[in-house]
Every structure is written in C-alpha cells, then in structure tokens.
Amino acid sequence: MKTFVKILLSNMERPGYTGSLADYEGAGGYKALKTVLGKTPPNDLIEMVKKSGLRGRGGAGFPTGVKWGFIPKDHPGPRYLCCNADESEPGTFKDRQLMERDPHQVLEGIAISCYAIGAQTAYIYIRGEFRLAAKILEQAIADAYRAGHLGSDVYGSGITVNVSVHAGAGAYICGEETALLESLEGKRGKPRTKPPFPATHGLYQKPTVVNNVETLANVPHIVNRGAEWFASIGVPPKSTGTRVFCLSGHVKRPGNYELPVNATFRDLIFELGGGMRSDKPLKAFIPGGASAPFLTPDHVDVQMDFESVAMAGSMSGSGGITVMEEGTSMVWAALRLMEFFYHESCGKCTPCREGSSWIVQILQRIMNKQGRPEDLRTLTEICENIGGRTVCAFGDAEIAPVQSTLKYWRNEYEALIAEAEALKGSRKEIPVLSLA
C-alpha cells in the first residue's frame, strides 16, 4: 500500500489521542502561536502564508495569504476573523472531523491568523446541526482561555485574541462568505453584492477575513515547518499541501483521507477507499462536492489539485468525492442534487430561485416517464440563463449536476423521454386549463 504525507490528521490518528488540550500540547501544540505572537511582524506572517501557496479549502481555492493581504493596513477600527465551519456542501464532512477530533489545531490556526490580520475577535460560524462539534469547540475554547492561549495579553505579548462559537440554524447558503456575515449579523442569510468585498466591508462593515476550518488548521504547521516545506508538497507553485478528501458513495471504505493534492482520484477511490463496494464497475464520480460537475471513469487518473481538476472540466471544490457504480441512474442523481439546490436557494436572485424550481419540475417529469422531447433543450437554456447571472456562486453550482450529466449521459435522458413518448397514447392526460 502506498503511503501519503499527512499534516492535519496525523495527531488524531495516533492511538489514544483525544484532542484534549493536554494531548495537543503534548504533540507540540501552541508552539507556533508562542513563536510568532508579538515577535514575528504580522506582515511577515502574511508573506509566509502567501509563499506557502495555501489556498482556501472551503471550495473556491482562493490564495489565503492574498486574502489576508487585502485587509487595509491603516484601518483604525476593529477587524474580524470568521472561521467558516458551516460545512454544508453535500459530500463534505472533513471540517466536522477536524473540529471534533482536534479542536485546538483549529483554534491555534485561528489565533495566529487573528494576529496576522490584526483582528482581536474571531467568530466560528458553525452549522446549527453540528451540536457535538460546537460543544467540543466550546470546551476547547474554555480550556485554551484558562491556559492563556486565548484572551487578553496572550503570553504577555499585549495581543488580544477572543474566540467564540456562533451556531447557525440550517441554511446551506450561510457557507457563502457574505451570507455568513449577514447571518452572523442576525439577519436572513442572503449573499451580498460584491464589491465591496469583506476585506474592506465585512462583518459590521469592518475589514473581515473569512477562512474555512481546514485552511486555518494548516496555519500552525506552516509556521512550525516553514513556507518552503509546505510549498514542496503537492503541485507547486499553484496547488500546495495536503487536503482532507471526503469519500462517500458506492465505495468499500468511505471516510476522510488526507492526501497531498498531487494524488489522483484512483489513489483515493481504489487505493484507500478499497474500490467499488460491489463488483459493478465505476460509472461516475463527483470530484468536489455537489457543486462540482460530474466526471467519468476516464478521469480517475487526474490529479486532485485545483488546476488538474479544472482542466478535466470540473472543480476540486470542497474536496468531497462521491462515487457512483454502474447501474446508478444519472438523471436520478442529477434530480437528487437539484432538489437539494432548490431547497437551499436563498431566493434573492430570480434566475436561481425560479430556475432551480423549473429544473426540478422538468427532471421529475422525465424521471416519471412524462418527459417531452423539447425538455432537454429547455433544461440547457435554463442552465445557461442561471450561470453567471446571480449574485453569488450558488447559481453556477446548481447547474453543474444537470449540465455535466447532460454532457456525459445524454442517452439516459433521451431513453426516458423516448419511453414517455411510447407511453403517450396509453395514458390518460390530465386536462390543462386553456386560457385561449
């Protein structure tokens, strides 16, 4: 069996490791925070993270150091760090493990990042359903305060870092960074129009950085081992480090696997995941959460870094890989994901709000063998009218399952519609009210 470099999961995979403060300190935890706080100039930290090549692990893959660099240096008022723990992308469950099993790794990352951007306050916006993770984090925060890793004048440096957990209440869209800020301000979680960006007008209109849990958890390791070390893993210079990939669907061993980003889907699905759970061959996989276009068995040797997956016509997104075996209906799979997006559309932008409902209706009738020959053209047109026409990336995400299944498995749609056509004469049609 191949061995792979691990960073984030290496603590918790040690036998007996509980994620308590004592365990984390015993494994060298909070060393990075002690090293930099009040000693390394914040700007050097930003440069270090830039040089490491660390990119956002939430889905967009934006370079973290660059995001930090956008915070205006001369701003007098408070600045904020928001840790995005809203993990809601179907197929993704890595942040939950990072928070439940090694919460101090996340907290140390938060504290260092706060110092780097000059924020005294951090909020961990966690999805409301993650009650256990929230409870574990709250305990860890209390322990860290007591041990002096958080609070005012940390280690006598004069630096203040306050962290609190803020639970959501069920809304996928609150993982979008500006919707998260709206929700944190106590409003309906609808994305804001950009610009202005959160770096200048974020939480309470103050400079704000929003980073994913896994992104922040990497920061202490970059400080400890250096930017060059981190940048040497993966596919330098653009996609570096490891990622915790979440494997789900028809595989023998689903779960979270940390791999350097230059590992391939074959490594994950077959080497670590044990391959398909039945003897049926692989039919399709989603490479980066529900928002990523489907890929086919022809793509299993693609590397899982951001660029390679984009070249293959999809996106690495949140790192959630969902595997489907031969025999799975792709129209059904697209419908299931579309029902998710329909349920979660916040309703702010008309193309997304109405379009998601239309797509669900059309897919449902195709599945129910009541599809019409013109449906495929209508689906394509609706998708084209949603993509790029919404305030946030949700619109582009929701059309991915439909467009990609239409691209690779159009014959399945056509077969269902042909069946509907054949049934036409034998079925009693419900009379439709005519306004003419």
């Binding site: 069996m1 061995t3 792979f4 691990k6 960073i7 999961l9 290496s10 918790m12 995979e13 994620g19 408070p78 993990e87 809601s88 992308e89 179907p90 197929g91 993704t92 469950f93 939950r96 493990q97 439940e100 099993r101 909020y123 999805r127 359903e129 993650f130 009650r131 256990l132 609190s164 803020h166 639970a167 959501g168 209440a169 069920g170 809304a171 996928y172 301000e185 106590g186 409003k187 979680g189 309470y204 081992r225 070390w229 979440c246 494997l247 789900s248 669907g249 028809h250 061993r253 689903p254 779960g255 979270n256 670590l272 529900a290 969902t322 299931r336 994901l337 998710f340 349920h343 979660e344």
Partner: protein
Amino acid sequence: MIFDKHQDTVNDILGRYPVKRSAMLPLLNLAQKEEGYVSQAAIREIAGILDLTPPQVFETATFYTMLNLKPIGKFHVQVCRSLMCALVGADPLIEWLRKHLGLGLGQTTGDKLFTLSTVECLGSCGTGPMMQINDDYYERLTEEKVGQILKDLRGTGDCSLKSGPFLVPERGEKVVSP
C-alpha cells in the same frame, strides 16, 4: 418569560457581539431548546431584548430550516435524503420509518413523541444513511438499528447508539509525518 431563568446565558451571548442583533440566532436556538419550538411569545421576548420589532425577528426565523415555528414531537427524527445518503440506502429507510411510525413526512405521532422529517445533507456522507434526532447524530443506519434507537428513546429518552466524536475508521495504513 422564557429567558428569565437563563439571564446569565443571555447576558453572556449579548456580551460576545458589538451589535445586539448578532445575538438573534443564539437566542432563537436557545428558545427552541427551551420550548421545543420557537413560540410567538419567544419571538416577542427576543424582539424586546434586541430592540427590534417582533416581525423583524419572525422574518429572520423563517429563513432557517432548523427553527420550528410550530410545536413538534419530543423527538424530531430528521433523516438525510441528499444524494450521498440516498446512494447507500436512505430511501428504503425513510419508507421503513414512515411505515413503522405510521407517519407522513412532517407529521407527529399521536403521543407527541416523534416527528418525522427528511432533511438535506447533514455533513455525514461517509457514514450514511444517517439521521439526526434532536441534538444527536445516528450514523451507518440499518432498519434494525433504527428500530432499537426508537425503542430506547421511547423507553428511557436516551440512546447509546448516538455518534460520539467523529471516528477515524480502522484502515491499517501507516501514518507518515512529513
């Protein structure tokens, strides 16, 4: 008043934010924990605390699917129906639960014990099919396991089959520190 006995918690929540309105979700969550749902009285009380009007609180609350604006059963059985769980057998399980509890989706049993709902992805895709009952996750479900969970909840109000901190599956691969 709902928050009277939680005055310390309310003050602690308010102390975390420079702007009062940010306490909205924490207070709504607290109200639901206390009463099982968000009542009109709770909405009025939260509005009072946050210097808002009750419609402003209500409008916000309607956005969030976890907030129940009507009373529900003591145990809210919420089964994930998203694709990842559906691939590994969520649909038959939902059907089984409907039959076993004699409920349609969104309905509550006559004894006010169980409300059955389907929900979208709960971030537990590697351990599906799964469901959440009140604060707890239950994963890698089978009909047998779900039957046991319902029996335990009916009997003692608690069930030891709930998930603890995310487990690293046994894998036998070597951990290499870089």
